[in-house]
Symmetry: C2
Subunit: 301 residues, 2 copies
């Protein structure tokens, strides 16, 4: 089977076994309790495995200026989701309705709002850290519903998806040491769930030709690692977790300082919740009640 | 105190007592585990009180055509959130970046996507029901993160908020009987949590002068009831639940038929999760551990 055929078979099975309900839009799925119970179990297991009980939950939308200030619109603009609205009067609504009735484009009646979607869990965090960090920096556990504009028939590439992240903000040394400390533990985390992950050097999906240079830099400096697992036979493995070092990128943009007055560095470990659950379904089958006992116990909640 | 002052005091307290973390944007808040544990408890209590264990979870975004087809853009266009994206090439990105660097409007580089936000939990459900209902119709329990474009300094009026809904789709008689059966039980549900709700006739926040006619019709035909509780001393009470009868509105638009081949009618009962939790905090205080024993037990999870 080609990768595209495998994707279609997997999606059909997810629907047939009542994990997803199709929404007639690529990368959007309604989820059943059967699927969501696995997500909840995974969230609990992340808390247990990291010891980070306090979670900060950001809404799916955030101030647009975070997207602008963080450089996301420079580097990955094609993935951004912005919130637009109708801010017209009754006369322009009449015109909008006429366009709609004719089945014609009515986007001219929309205005950009101050809001965008969160493209990753950690973006809305940085502006809340502006100023001087406490001694020892910060370690924050985040949960955010993210959005990336990349319509795809692949059920493992959703446009709306949930991410847990641990974000470490401190001196370069401490951030790197923290990331280092997770290299083996992150592998173990996935192995405990019966997955067979591999750690690979990776890069973000930067835009255009300029993006290729950024991606090469990122790989050369080993700023991004992904833990990947085989979900489809054909083609590359699926990234289900990532371990990133942002250097002083966010510290500079959002004026975050260590106690010594230096610009803070940051790093994060991301868990793709839907992707991990989908990898588990692919690995252990479509009946979670029949999964290996250890996995069921780890995911009980 | 004026209502505005009360809102400010309440929000400051929610931040001070670590329920919310401000996001520097009206109607958007990061939530702590302290707040989210109350939400989780409430969700469990809704399952217990309704007996509806199977929940369908829609993502915060949905196909834009649902917004168009359902008439939302006709009646409440000012509350709609549409998803826009950058679909340009490298040349237009350069221009976008120039505008950004100058701090100027770059909305001309955005295009409307096929997606919008869900303005209420039930919108994405209807297209999945197109066709003939099973005998006895359907009763569905939904959970959706909704978006309404209405920036406000009032912490009880969020732009991004979560709604649980029970949606009943069947003959007019059966839908009305189902709604009727909840009038007392919904009051009891809130009373069990120590709230003191009142049931009032209500209308949706329709747009403009035409909207006033629609709102009057809705009230005259008793299509919408809200359960309201006093959260602020000044001004009106806060709607925390609603009981709605849509007549054949969604059945007609999304071609949903009863077993007899008639256009299906629908109704729903909505729970505003953040609003109920905020009403509970206002009622029982900022330390959930010291809330009345019965309330703590009902919200344990």
């Amino acid at each position: 089977m080609t990768r595209e055929e495998e994707q279609k078979v997997f999606l059909d099975q997810l629907v047939e076994h009542r994990f997803f309900i199709p929404m007639d839009s690529p990368g959007l799925f309604a989820r059943t309790s059967k699927f969501e119970n696995l997500i909840k179990g995974l969230e609990e297991f992340i808390v247990k495995a990291t010891g980070e009980e306090e979670v900060t939950y950001f809404p799916p939308v955030m101030p647009r200026k975070i997207l602008e200030k963080s450089g996301f619109m420079d580097s990955m603009p094609h993935l951004a989701g912005l919130v637009s609205c109708f801010c017209g009067n009754e006369r322009s609504l009449l015109e909008l309705k006429e366009q709609l009735a004719k089945g014609e484009d009515w986007s001219a009646f929309l205005s950009m709002t101050d809001l965008s979607h969160a493209p990753a869990a950690c973006y809305p965090l940085y502006p809340t850290c502006t100023g001087t960090l406490p001694p020892g920096g910060r370690l924050v556990h985040l949960g955010t519903t993210c959005f990336r504009h990349e319509p795809s028939p692949d059920p493992t590439r959703m446009q709306s998806f949930r991410m847990r992240e641990l974000v470490r903000i401190d001196t370069p040394d401490n951030v790197l040491k923290w990331r280092e400390s997770w290299f083996e533990r992150a592998i173990q985390f996935l192995q405990d769930l019966g997955l067979n992950p591999e750690r690979v050097e990776a890069s973000d999906p930067f835009f255009g030709r300029g993006g290729r240079v950024m991606a090469n830099n990122q790989r050369e400096q080993k700023l991004k690692f992904e833990l990947v697992v085989k979900v489809y036979e054909a083609g590359p493995s699926l990234a289900v977790m990532s371990l990133n070092y942002h250097q002083d990128h966010f510290g500079k943009q959002f004026e975050i300082k260590t106690v010594d007055g230096e610009t803070a560095h940051s790093g994060c470990m991301g868990f793709g919740l839907e992707r991990i659950v989908l990898a588990l379904i692919q690995r252990h089958g479509f009946s979670p009640d029949s999964w290996p006992k250890q996995v069921r116990e780890l995911l009980s909640h």
